[in-house]
């Protein structure tokens, strides 16, 4: 009998490290992710079902408050679009099942991968390829945006003052990682 073939996730950045004394660049642990588009009528039910209040303000993110959903974040990407990330790998598709209203949820856990850039020079390293103003005033802790890094599109999230999460498509991750590693050699701090 033929063996059932299941797609296995790939982690192209596994084991890579880069950086310097001022900045560390490491692949993030696998996480589950949801690309969410929702009409206004579905926002409240989805927030309840996912136990994360979907942010309404541009460039903001929200984190789950319950003990079970502390690892869960919702990132505002557009007026009706969010990226939900759960670093514990919870089944987000199942979580949003009970929600009512008009919405679309797509599991993109393995489409995206993430790179954590941390350290005193983190902002400078990302700024070498990202055209946005990343100063704390313009891009505070918790701010997130879809933007560019070099030639590739990323979703940038500032987790702490000197910790950034760079979400990129898995197939672009080798480029994004190499770009950051190169930038870390001589950051403009």
């Amino acid at each position: 009998m033929a063996e059932a073939l299941a797609a296995r996730p790939q982690y192209p950045l596994e084991g890579l490290v880069a950086g310097s004394a001022q900045v560390q660049i490491t692949p993030a642990a696998p996480a589950s992710r949801l690309a969410l588009r929702a009409r206004p009528d579905a926002v409240a039910p989805l927030s309840k079902a996912l136990a994360v209040k979907l942010p309404q303000k541009p460039k903001t993110s929200a984190r789950g408050t319950a003990a079970k959903t502390k690892s869960r974040q919702a990132l505002w990407l557009g007026p009706d679009e969010w990226l939900v990330i759960d670093t514990d790998g919870a089944d987000l598709m199942a979580a949003c099942q009970p929600a009512t209203g008009t919405f679309s949820a797509v599991d993109v856990s393995n489409r995206n991968t993430a790179i954590i850039v941390s350290g005193a020079a983190a902002e400078a390293v990302i700024s070498s390829g990202c055209p946005q103003d990343l100063s704390l005033k313009a891009f505070p802790v918790g701010a997130c945006a879809r933007t560019l890094l070099g030639k590739t599109e990323i979703v940038l999230l500032r987790e702490e003052e000197d910790v950034f999460r760079v979400e990129c498509w898995r197939s672009f991750s080798a480029y994004a990682f190499a770009f950051l590693a190169e930038a870390a050699r001589d950051p403009m701090v």
């Binding site: 541009p58 557009g78 679009e81 055209p131 945006a145 879809r146 560019l148």
Partner: protein, 104 residues
């Protein structure tokens, strides 16, 4: 680099995140079958290309992903205003007067 105000993100973002998407306020004929070839040509191919204030569609493609409209001066390349898709077209003469004042 130009800074373009995205009416959905509600702040100025760098030009690299945006893509131009042609002339704005071109209404698609409601009944395509009944219009003449000349009318179709006008709708499909003929664009105004003015010197001065031009109304354009832009898309915040590497940001919120939304299309919006912008009034831009084709002489100075300055964005005079941007507004959400679906909003009425602002008056060109008024905008020209406003941008003239701002330059002084």
């Amino acid at each position: 680099m130009l800074q373009i105000y995205c009416p959905y993100c509600k702040e100025e973002r760098p030009e690299l995140e945006f893509r131009h998407a042609g002339e704005a306020h071109i209404a698609r004929p409601a009944d395509m079958k009944s219009i003449s070839d000349e009318e179709f040509e006008g709708y499909f191919f003929i664009r105004s290309n003015p010197k001065g204030i031009a109304f354009e569609r832009w898309r915040h493609v590497h940001g919120c992903g939304r299309f919006f409209n912008a009034a831009r001066d084709t002489v100075s390349d300055k964005f005079i205003t941007t507004y959400e898709a679906g909003e009425p077209k602002p008056d060109a003469a008024e905008l020209a007067a406003k941008s003239g004042e701002a330059d002084k």
